[in-house]
């Protein structure tokens, strides 16, 4: 297990490095950051001054080395706009995004898993079809569309909930539902098929032959086994919560990392974009590591002989 964690962490660092390199190159090749910052009609002396200040006169490889050398010393670069440390700019937005992402994740679990289990238990009934209809709608409709519909109804028509901003729990509801619905949909579908598969396993028949009643068979024998594949999906979903927040934060004017990223890319705030990428990648890698650990905890077969092959 120790070896496993070390390996996965190293692999995660490799992912962060690869992604940073890609973003570094793409951002610099796709347009002139100073043009975005200073505008078209800035005087040449001013452009030259900033070119030298931010090191854009250096060859790309040197900028790259300097950037990474800085990273190792804790220097994430500066925001062009206000000269603040890029990491600081990003970190102050992180709590808002985590709040939204985590709440949406919990929402999608609380809705998706029971929905999937119920659909599996009442397979091919009206209940099943209703649940799966909801699930399909959930992940087929784009985030921004759901968001706008919710705003139209709850903020404009009945005026129960605020359409944007932050502060109270009421502000949280619409963005969370918007962001969590797609997750709930795919979790529900997955939970359903996982349950159906488990219900046909020989050990479910054993549980029945032992004389266990149906509720116990489901809660003690089916659900724990069905949970194993669901957990894998949750890892991806957790990442999507952060990535999906880009759109949702824009729709609801939520002051999180997602909105910051959109603004920073438009403004060619190189250091800020890079810092956001690092933070998001680290979140993704950590989420997946946690999933693998949860996997090992849930499934005794995973705890040993991870790559054991059958012969």
């Amino acid at each position: 297990m120790g070896r496993f964690i070390v390996l996965r962490t190293l692999r995660g660092l490799l992912t962060v490095w690869g992604l940073l390199t890609l973003v570094f190159v793409v951002l610099r090749l796709s347009g002139d950051p100073l043009e975005a910052l200073l505008g078209d009609d800035a005087p040449p002396e001013m452009v030259d001054y900033y070119t030298v200040l931010y090191g854009f006169d250096q060859p790309l490889w040197r900028q790259y080395l300097q950037y990474f050398w800085g990273l190792f010393q804790g220097d994430w670069g500066q925001s062009f706009r206000d000269g603040r440390d890029a990491l600081e700019v990003v970190l102050e937005r992180v709590p808002a995004t985590l709040q939204l992402g985590f709440a949406a994740f919990v929402f999608s679990l609380l809705v998706g898993i029971p929905l999937g289990i119920v659909a599996a238990l009442y397979r091919n009934t009206a209940l099943d079809r209703f649940a799966m209809g909801f699930a399909v709608l959930g992940f087929a409709l784009p985030n921004f569309f759901i968001g706008i519909i919710l705003i139209l109804f709850f903020s404009m028509t009945v005026r129960w909930l605020p359409s944007s901003g932050t502060g109270t729990w009421a502000h949280l509801i619409l963005p969370v539902v918007t962001l969590g619905t797609a997750g709930a949909g795919s979790i529900a579908r997955f939970a359903r098929s996982s349950m159906l598969e488990v219900m046909n396993r020989p050990y479910m028949r054993t549980a029945q032959a032992k004389g266990l009643r149906r509720p116990r068979r489901i809660m003690w024998h089916a659900v724990p086994n069905a949970a194993i594949p669901i957990v894998t999906l949750l890892g991806f979903r957790l990442g999507d919560m952060i990535a999906g927040s880009v759109v949702v934060e824009a729709v609801f004017a939520w002051p999180g990392v997602g909105r910051l990223l959109v603004n920073a890319v438009t403004a060619r705030e190189l250091a800020v974009v890079q810092a956001v990428i690092v933070i998001v990648t680290i979140t993704m890698v950590t989420a997946n590591l946690l999933v693998d650990l949860a996997y090992a905890w849930l499934d005794p077969r995973q705890r040993e002989g991870r790559n054991e092959r059958k012969r």
Binding site: M1, G2, R3, N200, Y203, T206, Q208, K210
Partner: protein
Amino acid sequence: MGRKQAVEDVSFEIARGETLCIVGETASGKSLTALSILDLHSPGVSASGAVVLDGRTLLGLSDRTLADVRGRDVSMVFQEAVPALNPVQTVEAQLIEAIRSHRSLTRNEARGEALTLLTSVGIHEPERRLVAYPHQLSGGMAQRVMIAMALSAKPSLLIADEPTTALDVTVQAQILNLLRDLRTQHNLALLMISHDMGVVAEMADRVAVMYRGRIVEMGPVEQIFDAPAHPYTQRLLAARQQARRTPVRGTSGAPLIEGKGLSRRYPNPRRWLFEARSETVAVDCVDITIGQSEIVGLIGESGSGKSTIGRLLLGLEAPDAGSVTIDGQPMPRPGEPRWQALRQRFQVIFQDPHSALDPRCRILEQVKEPLDIFEIGAAADRPARAAAALDQVGLDASVHRRFPGALSGGQKQRVVIARALVLQPRFLVCDEPVSALDVSVGAQIIDLLARLQRETDMSLLIVSHDLSLVRTLVDRVIVVKAGRIVEEGETTALFAAPRHPYSRLLIASAPITHPRDRRRERLTAV
């Protein structure tokens, strides 16, 4: 969709202390009949009629009411024990759950009871097994746990659905002994489902023969074996007692393949970063020779390394030590010109014909494919050659355009054999060629292999755990245990007088052919 009648008008009764065996082949309805007793069907299957236990009608009771009967009055053990146990719970959790669902005991008392039960089914170190998960148990051990679980509430009827089919012969013999002892001890009514007349001969007081959803014959075991009335019963019995094929010749001529000092090890996965890598020795310093047109049987239990030996001789795996020579020349490596020729002339047949065929490719196409690969003959002639190979294994033109899904297991295995034959192999490895098939179908496949060998003069290596198969087909037997050859010899001689204790155990464990041969206490548990 219409409903299919799988079982029709089946009636039987069973008394305490009695063993009734229901025997029949795949899809004869025997398992469905057993499951009906406790209404354990998958959704969509329904049963009608009456099931009466000690005067109480069971069929038609609600799931809630039946839950009290299941496990307490009637319990059941299944064919494959490891998948029948919940993979995420320990043996302890599952045993205690079974005990406490029918008896009001505290957790601790139940744990004590679980230990007693495990001991009573012959598990050594029960404390250690309690904390084990199902995947850490061998098949035989898991079946013992299942039996312990089934007996936890002292039922009056135990239903055993093919309880030993998935097990090695020696383990099968132990489990059958155990079931017999427990039946006597607890005065159980034992209902056994089996496809194996050997198991029936070993266990039954009475036999019910099922064929196409009906009981075609029922009676005391001796009567069924001595005077089978129904033609199907006669066929089943005949399948077990095939005429011994007379060996064509001794080991004459030059050897075709020679393996010297073959070893093969597999690394075990490391659990910790700096743990030394341990290895599993699959094959350990094995010398093996297969003569021209000789039929050699390689017998041993699961995990003995017999399949690995087959792969080493085929060149599909390279040995870690030792060498294989073919016609006196070293085994070529992939990429060398002789490698292609070798792949054409050395063929293999696998255990499970269902997964050995491409489900989306028509039969004739699959048999023709090897000809395309090796560019044998003119492209236009190849379908005819493939058809001839199919004809050789007894399949006519009606199957040519079909997909594998439309064929029975026996037909599929014939297709697999035809696909190997079409290349006119010199050496054919048959890895458990009949163990996935019904007995009477398996017998036909064996006859087919014997006939093909006579016609084509190829060498055969039969890898099997099934002694009766090996006995009827092969010229020479090699017994493997834990990666080593423990004994080899001419078939009749070896079966008549096995020298190594392990060969003796294997032969003694093989199911008998007639109930009069029942071994009382002949075997001691290993």
